[in-house]
């Protein structure tokens, strides 16, 4: 029963080999979907290209359906999976700062790596920027720590927060994604085409 490495079914020595393989597929899928182009990515914020919305939400919907279905069938134990912990204000403020970085740079860290791999010099500058940003965060950590460690709700899920059945939520989430896809196509038809 999964997860395989935490349950000792695959020995931990394989961890790094698997990490490399997963990374290769991750990078391949991102690049092949067009995520190595900042101008394509930024399109989602100006309405001329919705690849980010489509890839990102399709992936989230497929993953959450798949994981909950595997749990339902007994192939994976969801309680053993790592749930990204909720530090509410750190998540909100961090997200806002990342959004600003996204609209300025046109990349997120993962997509910038794909762009670096195919030779985009602007992505290399972005990567150096990330290193500087991490450095500044770490150096000023003592000032940031109250925000970073505050409002800790632990590893909660929307099932706890909204008091909704996970299956109902996943159904509604999928509906929202489909509606968003339809609307995005309507918007794209109205917005002036951008060539890059």
């Amino acid at each position: 029963m999964g997860p395989l490495i935490p349950n000792g079914i695959i020995p931990p020595e394989w961890d790094f080999v698997i990490a490399l393989l997963i990374g290769i597929i991750f990078g391949y899928v991102l690049e092949a979907s067009g995520f190595s182009s900042s101008r394509k990515l930024a399109g989602v914020f100006y309405g001329y290209d919705f690849v980010v919305l489509k890839v990102f939400f399709t992936a989230a919907v497929v993953a959450v359906i798949g994981i909950y279905y595997l749990d339902y069938l007994g192939f994976i134990d969801i309680s053993k999976l790592y749930i990204h912990p909720t530090y509410l204000w750190a998540a909100i403020v961090g997200g806002i700062v990342m959004g600003l970085g996204f609209i300025l740079g046109g990349f997120c860290p993962g997509t910038s790596l794909c762009a670096v791999a195919i030779g985009k010099i602007d992505a290399m500058a972005y990567g150096v920027g990330i290193l500087i940003g991490v450095f500044i965060f770490s150096e000023f950590f003592s000032f940031i720590q109250p925000l970073f460690d505050g409002s800790n709700y632990g590893a909660i899920t929307l099932v706890d927060t909204l008091g909704i059945s996970p299956y109902w939520f996943i159904f509604l989430f999928s509906l929202v994604a489909i509606i968003a896809f339809v609307i995005s196509d309507l918007v794209r038809k109205k917005v002036k085409k951008i060539f890059y």
Binding site: I24, V29, Y46, I76, I121, A125
Partner: protein, 175 residues
Amino acid sequence: MENKVKNKHVYWNPYFGGFMLGLLLIFTFYITGRGLGASGAFKSTVVTFVDDVAPTHASKNAYYEQFIINGKSPLNTWLVFETLGVLIGGFLSGALGGRLKLYIQHAPNITSKKRLFVALLGGLFFGFGAQLARGCTSGAALSGMAVLSTGGFVTMLAIFGSAYAFAYFFRKNWI
């Protein structure tokens, strides 16, 4: 007509790409019990650099200190190997798609120099925010949403909400 040639369909169908990414995410959770990530490797790089240049300074800092284990390089983590894979995978896809080219991509309204400066600044903000939120679009938003983490959804809404809110002010950089 020239424009059509420039924008010809060279990428995967986005729904196919998303489906593949979703399958990969399920596979990753099934094997490792965790999701994907990208900003973690940048953090490990900074921690390693600071630990090499100023080890006492690093050990006194509450943030670096938690990633430094005696006798073990901070680069010896799952995410660093995964990130090496991302570079290889991105290169393979770009090579097969005929997209390997060393250049600065920017909108016609801005200069290469400005694009590099804005990209650097964008990276700086994203790197900072990803530390604060304990993950980026991959580690916090996407992997969080895959297991219905409340924080994952909050981070995702904050990233996209903020980017849409700021988009108007930076439109000249893109369109």
